[in-house]
Subunit: 384 residues, 4 copies
């Protein structure tokens, strides 16, 4: 099929307490078309190099600056093809900007940065080099979410009236960070997470459904950020009402204190002629309501003819063999890979329009507007 | 068991286009403990009398005024024991106030009235006579909703942090009223429905979950009422963010334009130690999440020992024999019946604390505040 | 609509431990078109009369023989129009045969009798008088089951290949009868229940799906009746493999020892071009699979245009207002009522072809063949 | 963690029409602890070598015989550590026996062989060399199935009474093999698939639930194999009733003609004190029913404390991040890997008791007994 495996570098993602490094490595390796070549996996230089060794990553670096310097110095035939950035939010901008400036592709975790200003500067760099760039709004990699996007585009529900996007979790309902849980600790620390905790971490995912699936943008928002757990510095509950650019409305509700909720994001999009509904809790199904007809359930499976050509290459298994989170992540890596390979003239399918740098910027604009509104007791604030 | 069947009068609920008369009659007759004795079933006198005859109601009246006058003139041994009011909203106050003043029990449809002022005046009448009064927040009659109330009271989820209450419908997504659909026509007419369409009709149901189940009140609200269908005089979409009297928050989201949604009300209540969730789409189940334990599903059935004594008398069937909407409605009639019988010294179970006149007033206060807020582009408005 | 309410007599169904009397009374009263006129509600004469009084049934009789005698002696203008028989199995034949012989309509609980021979004799009586007769295969009264029948008939799934019918319960997983639980006691007593416990009580319901919905008959069966609870005289687990009259096959699996199962009957019918699936655990939905198309979910609701004219008159509520077991039972009473009224020339809808005497006989033939097979260690036995 | 990645050889699994090669490769690569080193991927020598190259497998061989010969000739420091066999059934025995004889670990697809005799001979080879051997009963790799096994072992449901195991599919409801669909073609060809089509392909999976989860064996069976699609040489529908070694019973129902069913295997195991139920259609949940208590839903997620130490190392993601089929397959590879590493003294977790050679033999014994029974019109046949 292809000439060689792509070479991937990873920034962050090492260490025993790390969460997202493992899933990204699985996503990268899943289809046997890329390899883990380089890594600056931890904040401490020695740990970083040890971590690379332990993970069978041949080129371990003490930090991302060294990685970028040495990799860009290599001939193209040896250099990494793209980097995956899985650090806490405050450490996205540096490596992302450096890689973008060097024309090395980037798959960056969300939220894109910690401030909208940073995000815009990164956008400028990416634009100037036309760097292949994917933002890890992972849920856009689920095939039924991709199908929803295509159906909206194909007018299956008419004009969008209302988007309800949700993302409840329960894991921060108690003061987990006080026990030294690392995943909790940085997420509730404004210096690492940015101006919003819950909103930045998961509210941005929910908002991306508005953009990616419904194809709409928020023009102004009212935000209600709330901190339920005493002594926490950032919001653990995030409720936003938004007006959309076509006159519709959206509710974006995320929470980290909904005990029992796991990671239950989803959306319902109501249009003038129908409704689409998806939830990760039943993620192989997409519901399509249209007037008085029976409810239609699209089900995931490589054999179903109703998947358009834009999605078919992203399906790996026949129906009933559940794919999941790793495959969704792998799909984002696939899009970046095919973008890179395509530009080189390799024969690959057309990449799906997964979220790129503009979506990352839009997510930051949304969060900043929500924070600003909440700080003004919920006044309307325009989305920058 | 009891001395005689209770005698029930009905106001409204006749005619071929009527919707709620039938369900209430089924609720009244369900347990063979009450009979339909009197009726002023339609707005036209002749139709009203014909309708009573057709429905085997012996004492047909031309209008509710005549019914009240003649019934109160009868000796107590013949008089109706209570009236059920199933007219459009603007015709609740008259008969409810007259019956209350006469000390005749009332089961009144919601919203209680068309204005908060009317509601308060009715409250005064009811209070002065201590009239047995139930407001038809029908979903509080579902046994699993009753169980949720008891669990919250028994501290099963700790202190309430957040209430999410929802009620999407899709039947008004097109301009149904233009086709002469009577149920649609009066609901979108401010002179009949009051200041809010969607909010008054179904938003009040959703709000009652906050009060009835979570045991909390909204102190101030931000409301966003929207009319999606062009040319409609009232809101067909109703989104409210509320602050609660204990510092928690609530979202109350109702809609009539969510195509495919049927009548899908429900709630999720998150507390400091657990979460309860219920939806009418799976109404025989109540979900209880508590920390890291397996999710517990309470299931409906007369044989389950976990129903407290306050609910057991409201269960009719063993598990797996689904009860539904009619039984929920019958439960509200049962509460009114047992209230009446209990006061007479008959041996009946203690009635469950189903919504009464105060809940009807609170519903109106909530809707008026939401309307006022929406009229001010979403400013915070105190709930009166 | 109609001239007068129908007058109904009830045999059995009284007493504090009785289960099915209440649901039938609710079914009879539900639509305000029939009244409870007569009753021989308990096996003891004094109790029987007291029970009628307590239940507001004006004509209480000491036993069904007296009821039949006195009712048939009345002029047609006063006589009961039909009887509902809700006694244990061994007490079906007597009153059913007597009423049938008198030309009084019958709605009889299942299994029809305790032996196939009795069933055939009853059939002869019914046939000779052309008596309106409905057998309470209650689940055929659920509208989505009725819709399934119509879809099969309309060739929506092609030729039937396989029917899977199931009915697990868990309530007899322990020796409940030892504690004096009356519902358990008679069901495990061969003198009252007949030759099969689980098979007669619920296996017959499952088998009726083969006949009613799939439109097929079993020609021969292999039965495996098993008694798991020590010391029980009848089977509490019933597994049957059947060959069908068109060359297809069926599995009919019922059990009373599946702990946690409530009353979970349902079916899946696979044909050459599609599959239909229904379960009481989600009874307002009918699933229709057809090749590579999205799964279609028919949902219950009086407003949906896909219900044929044969079913529409049996729907009471708009979608999302769940009907349930009582309504299903009421639908069987409705069918009997409309049969009776129709013959009298009253203007009523065409009754749906709900199970009649022939289905009752077929159920007994099926159970007897299954028992015979099980007694021969599972040899094939023809269905009589 | 470990010294080096394990080296894996693959037999079969190449070519554009192949199905299971890809999933196994993803399972092998998933955790970055093994690499694809060798392959004899297709039946034609040139294709085989080309396929290895295309898949980035460094040591491509023309056939498995050559692969075995050359690999065993290598020093242990270069040799493959185990082979994965993903050929059609008739090509399992050869490479499995050769690898076992050479002491090279084996992960073999099921059914183990095409005859019980072959299976027993392979068992002897494996036993003589004590070869690490895993049979790809993939569904035993789902964590909730593993949890079910542990709960049964820990007496959570008492003594097992009844096992219901199911596996409906719909993809062979039409004569797909006539269109040259390769996956269909070999599965309905007795020379490649063995004596049973549906039973061997998926009935064996369902039967393994009886052994793996319930911990029981079938002692005798009645089988009903049926071919619904005209002109097909093997069964496409497989129904078995089994007696279990503790006096319980089991039903094992598999089908390939249930239109709309995808790959819907699952089980319900009823014991004297409770019931466990799992279905791949909701595979992150395990239902536990116990008497009158609320239904408990165990949910998958690495953070839940109720997973025993034997399962925890097999969980990759926190709750709500769905794992699926690839992870289940990866878990079987993980068990083989940890078995191999453990024997070498590497520090790895204790492998879970996933199915080995004895389970493969038992599966063949079950299928042969079912076929023999069906050939005798369903007579009881002992399981060898």
């Amino acid at each position: 099929m292809s000439q060689r495996k792509l070479r991937v570098g990873m920034v962050g993602g090492g260490g025993p307490a790390n969460f997202f490094g493992g899933p990204h490595r699985r996503g990268i390796l899943m289809d046997n078309s890329a390899e883990l070549t380089a890594g600056a996996l931890r904040s401490n230089a020695a740990d970083s190099i040890a971590s690379a060794k332990e993970l069978y990553i041949p080129r371990g670096y003490p930090d991302w600056q060294t990685m970028m310097k040495e990799e860009t110095a290599k001939p193209e035939s040896e250099r990494i093809d793209y980097v995956t950035i899985v650090t806490p939010n405050d450490a996205h901008f540096g490596p992302a900007d450096a890689a973008s400036a060097a024309g090395i592709g980037v798959l960056c975790e969300k939220p894109l940065t910690t401030t909208l200003d940073e995000a815009k500067r990164l956008h400028a760099t990416v634009a100037s080099k036309n760097t292949p760039f994917v933002v890890a709004y992972t849920y856009t990699g689920f095939p039924m979410v991709m199908l929803a996007k295509e159906l909206v585009k194909d007018n299956a529900i008419g004009e969008v009236r209302k988007v309800e996007a949700w993302y409840p979790q329960g894991w921060l309902a108690t003061k987990l960070e006080a026990d030294g849980q690392k995943q909790a600790a940085w997420r509730v620390d404004p210096t690492k997470a940015g101006a919003s905790g819950c909103g930045g971490d998961i509210g941005t995912h929910a908002y991306e459904f508005v953009r990616f699936v419904a194809g709409r943008n928020a023009t102004r928002v009212r935000g209600r950020l709330k901190t339920f757990v005493p002594g926490r510095a950032l919001d653990d509950d995030f409720t936003v009402l938004a007006e959309l650019d076509n006159g519709g409305i959206a509710t974006i509700c995320a929470s980290q204190i909904t005990i029992g909720a796991q990671n239950d994001n989803g959306f319902r999009i109501s249009g003038t002629t129908g409704t689409l509904e998806w939830s990760i809790t039943d993620h192989t199904i997409l519901k399509h309501y249209a007037g008085g007809k029976p409810l239609q359930l699209y089900r995931q499976g490589a054999e179903y003819g109703y998947f358009p050509g834009s999605i078919k290459p992203y399906l790996r298994l026949p129906s009933g063999h559940p794919e999941g989170f790793h495959e969704a992540l792998a799909n984002l890596h696939r899009t970046l890979e095919w973008t890179i390979r395509g530009r080189r003239g390799e024969n690959v399918p057309t990449p799906f329009p997964h979220p790129g740098i503009a979506d990352g910027v839009a997510g930051m604009a949304f969060v900043e507007a929500a924070v600003a509104s909440s700080n003004q007791d919920g006044a309307w604030v325009k989305v920058g």
